[in-house]
Structures are given as C-alpha cells and as structure tokens.
Amino acid sequence: MYQAQFDYRRAGSVDEALSLLQENEDAKLMAGGHSLIPMMKLRLAQPPVVIDIGRLDELKGISEAGGSVRVGSLPTHAVIAASDGLAAHCPVLAEAAGHIGDAQVRNRGTIGGNIAHADPGSDIPPVLVLLGASVHLQSPSGTRSVAAGDFFQDLLMTDVGEDEILTHVDAPALGSGTGAAYLKFEHPASGYAVVGAAASVTVQNGRCTAAGLVVGGVSATPTAVDVSSLVGTDLSDDAIAAAASGLDAEDPIGDIFASGDYRVHVGKVYGKRALAAARDRA
C-alpha cells in the first residue's frame, strides 16, 4: 500500500498543534497512527498535512483525585492496561485496553486516537459510556467537555471539531461494592470487537443498587441497555438474563462474518455474561 504525498509536522505543544491545525486546511492529527496510517495507505484518507502530537508529554498523564480518574489522550493501550492507578480505581478500563489488538497495536495506539477514530468495533467507547466519562476538548477559543454518551455520533463520527484536540478523559472511580467487567467477542480477521459488552453493578447488603450495561459493535455507536430492572434484586442469573435481553438496536451493523441479527443476539448473551462477571466482582 502506498499513501499519497503529504507533509509531516511535529507539534512541540498542544498550542502549537492547535495553530498548525488552523494554518493547514484538512490537516490530520496523528497520535499513535494506528488508525490514521492504515486509512492513508488505503488512500481512504489523503490529508495534505499530518500533525504529529504523539510526543506531547502534557497529554500523557494518568491520575486519580477526588473520586475521579483522569486519563490524558496519549497513554497507549499498553500503558492503560498496565496502570496501577487504573487497576485500583477503574480496572474495567484497563481490562478493555488489554483486549485491544496485539502487543504492537497496544504499544502504539492511544486512548485519544481510539475514541476520536470511533470505530464501531473499538473496545474503549462502550466502557467510557458505561462509566459516564466526560471527554475534554481544547480549541483556540477555549476548552469544553462532553459526556461520552454524546461524544460518539455515528460510524467514525464524533463531536471533535475541526479545530479541536482531545486532551483527556475523566471518569468516576469505581467505589466499593461496585464490580465491572468488559467481555469481548473478537472478530477472527480484524481482531476488533464483533460485540463488546461493558457492565457494572453496585451491590449493598446483598441487593443491587445500581447497574449499567453498554454494548459495542452492534450499532454505529455504543448501545446502552436499560437494566434498571436489576435494582433491588439479588442479581440472580434469571434477573440478569432478563435485563440483558432488553438490548435493542434499530439498525444493527453487519458484515460477512456476523449479521446484524446475530450481533444483537450475541450482544444479549455477552451482556448477560458481563453482568454476571460484574456481579461476581462486586
């Protein structure tokens, strides 16, 4: 595969990256390059200028404060999967990152690039929606944040504006009594998720007080399932199965490997299994 001609610029700071974005029409930011470069090689993307933000230390941090975790846009999947802080406060994010691609992909791909690219088979988006995370964006005119549930708009489409950089993600830390799990049904060719189910439950005194389930891969964007019927129950297998069967996708995506109907079916099964795993960890 041979990409078309392009110019390469390396930004030394977020501010420089923002001005390079402004100066160069149709320029593309590059973090790990693991979605952008394949698109360029297939000539599906032909940006005249590529702005490399991959070395900006200011976007690389992972921290925890006040019941919330903050992950910069540049930690790689490998860094996230191995992060002690996330293992302690938000293990489901690390779990999902560990399922991405292979070691090479995890060593290059970043969380910011992953969600900005917004492939429907990505592992991170359903987890961020489940957690109720917020995505932080910066542009020359300031900063803003958007709820993960609103960030993913359509197939490969997000709320990132042309002049914006995704700087970090904030997610509430998982409190005691809360268990969460991410379960992936892997595509045998691409390795992406055919279905990825992210679930969490909170249990107090043997009763469920909160539950969530978000399924990726079934639709263009992560699909939240209403599992509120679990609240107040003891999270029996039957109750979990009934709740997960509420997965509904109007326009499920399909390919030669798995049709839309089948994805919805697997979404229910994996949803059930993810909820059960979350229960066992709570």
Binding site: M1, Y2, A4, H187, A189, S190, G191, I256, S259, Y262
Partner: protein
C-alpha cells in the same frame, strides 16, 4: 560419526531470516531501477471501450504507460499459458494484459512505470479506462445455470472440462443393493493462500547482450523461465536467467506463472532498464491463484456389516476467469484419484466439471485436490459411522485396506505402494484418551451447556509428484523428475545444486543432512544451492510435497555415484579391486584389511590432481542425477480433533488436536513437525475461519486481512504429534513427504468434531468455515 539423518539439527537458514538479513526480491535494488504499478479492473466483467493514458503520462517521473496495444506491438506471444491439458479442455487465451474484455476484478489492463513506486501508484490512478460493465457470475453453481453470463465464448455453459474417473455402473449397482447409504451436499470453501511475502519481481533487461535477469518470488524458477520465455515474452530460453532469492512462503501460489511477472519483464525490455514490482496485499489477494472452491454432491453405500460397497462423487470445481498453470489437474488427477482414501472400496465413480467464473483463477494451494478429496471421504465416513451405528472408529477400521494387501490397486488409478493404517488410529486413540472423552461428552450432553465433540480424519495423500511418464499420460506438459548435481571439492567439502527451490521449507538444512549422512561428512561441510537457473542445471521445483522424496532422492543418487567413482579412484591408489572396496564414515576401505583405507578428502584431492589416476576415468568428483520416481509416495495418518461448542453463541473452541502421521523415514523431526504445524494451522483455518467471499457482482468482499481471517497464533492450541513409520519402498531414502499432510487431514477432523458435538441437535453438516453465526443458526433451526 553420529548419524545426522533423523536428528533435529537447527535450520541453517534461520539466523539470517530471524535477524532480518534475509534478502527477498523486494529488498533488491538495481542501478537505474524503475517501478511498475499495474492498473487493474474494478469490474468482474466488462468491455474496455477505451483507455486514456495521457494524464498518467503527464505526471512528472512517469516513464511509460503500456496497454494491450504495446503487447501486440512488441510482437511477442503475450499470453499466460496453461500447463496441464485434459481431454476436450477449453483453453481460451489468457492475454498478459486484457485487450477488450476484463474477466475478474484485478485483471490487468495497463501498467505504469515510473521513477519511484509512489509516482507509479499516483499515475496508475490517473489511467482512465472506459468500461462497459457486463453481467458477471462468481459462484461455481450459478455459473452452470442456464443463461449464466458467459466467461468465454469458447466455453459454452462456462464448462472448461467434463472429466470422470472410475466406473459408474458398478457404483449404481452398489447403491441399489446397499444396506446403508449416506449422502452429502457440500461446499469446499475458496481460500486465498496468503504467503507472508507478497509476489514480487525485479526484471533487468540489457539490450547490449539481449539478456534478461529476473529475480522473482518463485517455487520453480526453471518452470517459470520456460513459461515466461515460451508463452509470454518470446525470448530465447538461454537468454533469460531467473533467480528466486529468499522466498517468504508460497503454499502453491508461487508455482504458477502470472501475467504480472511477464508484464514487468516486458516493461524492462521496453525501457531497457531494471523494473521492479511488488504486489500490495490487496493485489496479492486479487491475483494470487486461489484454492479449493468446490460444490460437491457425494454418497457412500455400505453393506449390513458396515463395509463400503460404493462411492459416488459429483463435483463442480471453479477454475476462475482463466486456466492457471496447473489448474485443470487439481480437481481431477489430484482429487478424483484420491477417493479411495484409506479404504478398500470396490466401486468408485467421480465426475468433475471444471467451471469458468468471473473470479481470480483457482489453482494448487497447499494440498491441491487432496484436502478436497479427504474432506469428501472423511465427512462421509463420519456419517457412515452414525448411519451404521458403528461409530467413527469402527467404521473406519472395518474398511481400512489391510496391511497385507499392499501394493493396493484402487478403483481410481492410483496403486498404493505401502501402508499400515490401523496402528496410526490406535495411537491416536491412545493419545487422546478416547473412552474418557466419550464419557465426558455424555455427561455434557446430560447437563446441557457447552458441548464436546470428537472428530476423526484418516487421510491418505499421493505426493512426491511423480513418475513423468504417468503424469505425461494424464496431460501434464512437464516432466516431474528432479535433478541434483553434487560436487565434492578437492578439500572434501561439498556443494549441492538442486532443482528443488526452497521457499521456507529448510531444504538447505535437510539436504545437507542427506549428503552428510550418506557421504559421512559434517553437515556444515555441505552447501546447498538452489533457485537460480544459471547455477542449477534444471529443476521442476518445490510443490506437491516432492522435495525430499524426489529432490532428496536425486541428491542421494548423485552421492551414490560419487561413492562409486571414489571407489575406483581409491582402488587405483590402494592397488585393490574396486569391488573389494567399502565406503563407511567418510573412508574408502579394502574389505577385510582395515588398515588399507583412504579418507574422502584424499580421494577427492587425487580426483582433481589426476596425477596418479585410473586411465579409464575422467578427473573430478561430481555427479549429476535426474531422478524420476517409480510411483507417487503415499503418506497417511489419523488425526483427532476435540472441540467445545458454545451452543448459545455458536462459538467453537479447540480443546485438543492429536495427529499421528506416517510420512516414512524422517530426515529432520523438527522440520517435519514444523511442516505439520503450518499445515494444521491452514487446514484448521479453512475449517473455522478462512473464506474468500464474492458478492453477486463479482467483487471480492473478503479481500483484506480485516475481513479474511487467517489463523493467528492465539487462535490455535498446542498440537499433539506422533508418528508411525512405514518407509516408502521405492525411493532410496524411504521418505514420503509432509508439506501438505496437515492441511489435507485437518478440515475434516475439525468439521467432524463440531458435527459430533451437535449431534443431539440433529445436525449432520455445516459448510466451512464454521463461523459462530452459522453454527448458531444450525442449532436454532
């Protein structure tokens, strides 16, 4: 000296390959080298109304844009030939560059040559081809229907050939009186070979000498030279040198002669400059010959005791848009002739229709015909085990050709030279813990949830292609012998020139073991040269699991000739009679007087000095052999696969895979195991994941690795391997061949296991690949 045959010495090829020092075609650079990009049809079937190359030519850095017109103007034959003819075979022309009609997505319509490969690509996008799209047919069954779009006018009904083997009447009679019959409609899925190294060529023409050197990804450089010069470029054979540097896998795909390599040769002649082309992965998938793609109806008749009385097979085999090099042989002489499997079957009839479709051509791919045959026979045996109530083990045992029946003449031409099938089955059962597995299976069936299945495949293959006279009588346009020139140097180190060109198999290691063992020298003292038509006398190449059995035998013969000559020289020097000399551990000795001996080195030196030398002998110590085998070789074995099926999602997990193979004597056990591992990965891949899918308009929708699932290491499990040893009786090494066994045996073992797991659901067949969705739908219907 310790024996080196049968030991796992490490591959001498590997240090360079695993440290990135291997030189593949794309690594090569020549002074003044230009780059080609081939413009390909986006349509499966279209008429070319015109081609405008002006925008491409206008791009700075573009050197030339060639189309079919330039092929015609060059006055060369300009075609891609087929190398195996069947009676009444339709052989429509396959032009190097399509002139007025394209017949599959990827058909070449023009080529751009530029100073660098990026400019070449950019310019290729600017070649404007005016197509008139026509109806296309990609499916092998649809192509045979009335009114299907015609691929070639010369082939009415899209029939390339109509072929049969065996006799129909006895089979009909067997079915009429059968106690049990089983039948099956199946598809053998189309596969894309996926060698890691894509095809590549660097052609360097020099007008001052009229010579051309072509470095290319080849499994058989001499065959490529012949086809390239004779049918495509029209150059004298002696003016073309073909070199295969390191070749990164082939699995058959680098046997065939393709349009692309010839096009690049033409570009080099036109420009009088070296020109390189390396396929992109997309091009690889669109142009490397695909494998399999059969639709088959088959049935087995058995008597009340479960003995097979008849087998009937009717197959439509896709040829694709053009007949590739060996394509007609694959679903006929490498398929129909294997239908007896390991069994004594008194009546067999196999009918095959070769079918043109608007797809990439289909040709030999690891196993070539034999995996398809094994799949038919072994799926039917599974069903026969159920229908007779004998189960998969007993029904096979009852029908095995008995060990005292060899040589065994089948009803489908082949005569098996040797075999002993029971012990491989016994060992496989023992390894897998069969009875225990059956009781685990029973308790899973009682308790619901994930189900376990056990599948068998007792396969036979015919490899070590093959007696030239036999293949000639069957339509091959080439001989199937192999050559070896073994040269002992004055210092007693050895160089072997072999026609078996390696593309990853480790020939340099195993061939040096053969020489070391027979000649009593250190393997390190043996160099193996292959893959260069200027260095090697001639060669048929590496395919059909033939390198050890045929190429290795040629080397053994040459070594024997050297020893014979050495005895004469030694006899002269020792003043003894040559008949009294023995050769052992690298020394010539006079029998009975151990102190009268000469080391190989002494004799070699004298052979080159020729100062004190027999009058009637020529100097030098080298020998060339062209070894033509007496028969095919017949490896066999029993494989057992154990799977767990998640009936809720249809997902399949491999639990165990045990393989007992009999490949004859083993030269290097590690390399044999490696060949089995690779073959198993590909066969299991075919059963579970791999599928080349065309849509109705003839677009390849699984054209990238994002959609076409080749097995990855984490999809597989550790294989449990063992062997029985029944040496080949007719070659000097007693070796049979192992390159394809894994891919031949395993698809049936996997599918039988899954079907066995799902027996409680009344499922008797699911077509490959067994994707979770298909399994889930079968369970729920």
């Amino acid at each position: 000296m310790a024996r080196v045959l049968g030991t796992s010495i490490k591959r001498r090829e590997d240090p360079a390959l695993i440290t990135g020092r291997g030189k593949y075609t794309d690594d090569l650079k020549a002074a003044g080298m230009a780059h080609a990009a081939i413009v390909r049809s986006p349509y499966a079937h279209a008429r070319i109304r015109g081609i405008d190359t002006s925008a491409a030519e206008a791009l700075p850095g573009v050197l030339a844009v060639l189309t079919a017109r330039d092929v015609a103007a060059a006055g060369i034959p300009g075609v891609v030939p087929v190398g195996w003819l069947l009676p009444d075979l339709k052989t429509p022309a396959h032009p190097m560059i399509a002139a007025d009609t394209v017949r599959h997505v990827g058909d070449a319509v023009a080529v751009v040559v530029a100073e660098d490969r990026y400019v070449a690509r950019d310019a290729a996008e600017r070649v404007a081809v005016d197509y008139e799209p026509l109806d296309a047919v990609a499916d092998v069954v649809a192509a045979l229907e009335d009114g299907a779009p015609a691929v070639h006018e010369e082939a009415p009904g899209n029939v390339a050939f109509d072929w049969e083997i065996g006799e129909r009447e006895p089979v009909d009679a067997a079915f009429a009186s059968a106690a049990h019959t089983v039948e099956l409609d199946l598809r053998n899925n189309r596969l894309i070979p996926h060698a890691i190294e894509p095809r590549a060529v660097l052609a360097s023409y020099d007008s001052s000498t009229g010579e051309m050197t072509i470095h290319m990804t080849s499994q058989n450089p001499h065959v490529h030279r012949l086809l390239m010069t004779l049918a495509s470029l029209g150059m004298p054979e002696h003016k073309v040198r073909i070199v295969a540097p390191e070749v990164g896998g082939g699995f058959g795909s680098k046997i065939h002669h393709y349009a692309d390599e010839a096009i690049v040769g033409l570009c080099s002649m036109k420009l009088d400059r070296p020109v390189k082309w390396t396929a992109t992965r997309t091009e690889t998938n669109l142009t490397d010959a695909h494998g399999r793609d059969h639709s088959t109806r088959c049935a087995l008749a058995l008597d009340a005791d479960g003995r097979i009385t008849g087998l009937r097979v009717d197959t439509a085999a896709a040829m694709g848009a053009y007949l590739s090099t060996f394509a007609p042989a694959v679903p006929t002489y490498l398929y129909g002739t294997l239908m007896s499997g390991q069994y004594d079957i008194p009546a067999i009839h196999c009918h095959v229709t070769g079918v043109f479709t608007h797809t990439t051509p289909v040709d030999a791919y690891r196993g070539a015909g034999r995996p398809e045959a094994t799949y038919v026979v072994e799926r039917l045996m599974h069903l026969a085990g159920e229908a007779t109530g004998l189960g998969p083990v007993e029904v096979r045992r009852r029908n095995f050709v008995s060990p005292d029946a060899f040589p065994y003449q089948t009803q489908v031409a082949l005569a098996y030279d040797s075999g002993n099938y029971g012990p491989a089955m016994d060992r496989a059962l023992e390894m897998i813990g069969y009875d225990d597995l059956r009781s685990q299976q029973a308790s899973r069936r009682d308790n619901g949830g994930k189900q376990i299945g056990i599948g068998f495949s007792s396969y036979i293959e015919a490899c070590g292609l093959a007696p030239s006279a036999v293949v000639g009588s069957l339509g091959a346009q080439a001989g199937q012998w192999e050559s070896a020139d073994v040269r002992v140097h004055p210092t007693a180190s050895v160089t072997v020139y072999t026609g078996s060109s390696s593309h990853g198999q480790g020939h340099e290691t195993t061939f040096s073991q053969i020489v070391a063992d027979r000649l009593g020298v250190d393997p390190e003292a043996v160099e193996v040269i292959h893959g260069d038509t200027d260095l090697v006398q001639f060669g048929m190449g590496t395919y059909g699991s033939r390198s050890a059995a045929v190429g290795g035998s040629a080397i053994a013969r040459s070594v024997d000739k050297i020893i014979e000559k050495g005895k004469k020289i030694a006899a002269h020097l020792l003043e003894a009679s040559a008949e009294d000399l023995e050769y052992e551990d690298g020394s010539f000795r006079v029998a009975g007087s151990p102190d009268r001996s000469l080391a190989l080195g002494d004799v070699a030196l004298q052979a080159y000095l020729a100062h004190n030398y027999p009058d009637d002998l020529e100097p030098g110590l080298s020998a060339t052999s062209f070894y033509d085998p007496a028969n095919f070789t017949y490896p066999f074995g029993t494989h057992v696969c154990v799977v767990e099926v998640d009936t809720e999602t249809g997902s399949i997990e491999l639990l165990r895979y045990a393989a007992v193979d009999d490949v004859g004597n083993v030269i290097n056990p590690m390399i044999v195991d490696g060949q089995l591992h690779g073959g198993l990965a590909q066969g299991i891949g075919q059963a579970l994941w791999e599928n080349a899918v065309y849509d109705e308009s003839g677009q390849l929708v699984s054209g990238s690795l994002m959609d076409y699932a080749v097995p990855k290491i984490h999809n597989l499990i550790p294989f449990e391997l063992d062997r029985t040893t029944t040496p080949c009786p007719h070659n000097p090494l007693g070796v049979k061949g192992v390159g394809e066994a894994g891919a031949i045996a395993s698809p049936a073992a996997v599918v039988n296991a899954v079907v066995d797991a799902l027996a409680p659901f009344g499922i008797s067949h699911i077509d490959m690949p067994l994707t979770p969705e298909k399994v889930w739908r079968a369970v729920n219907s």
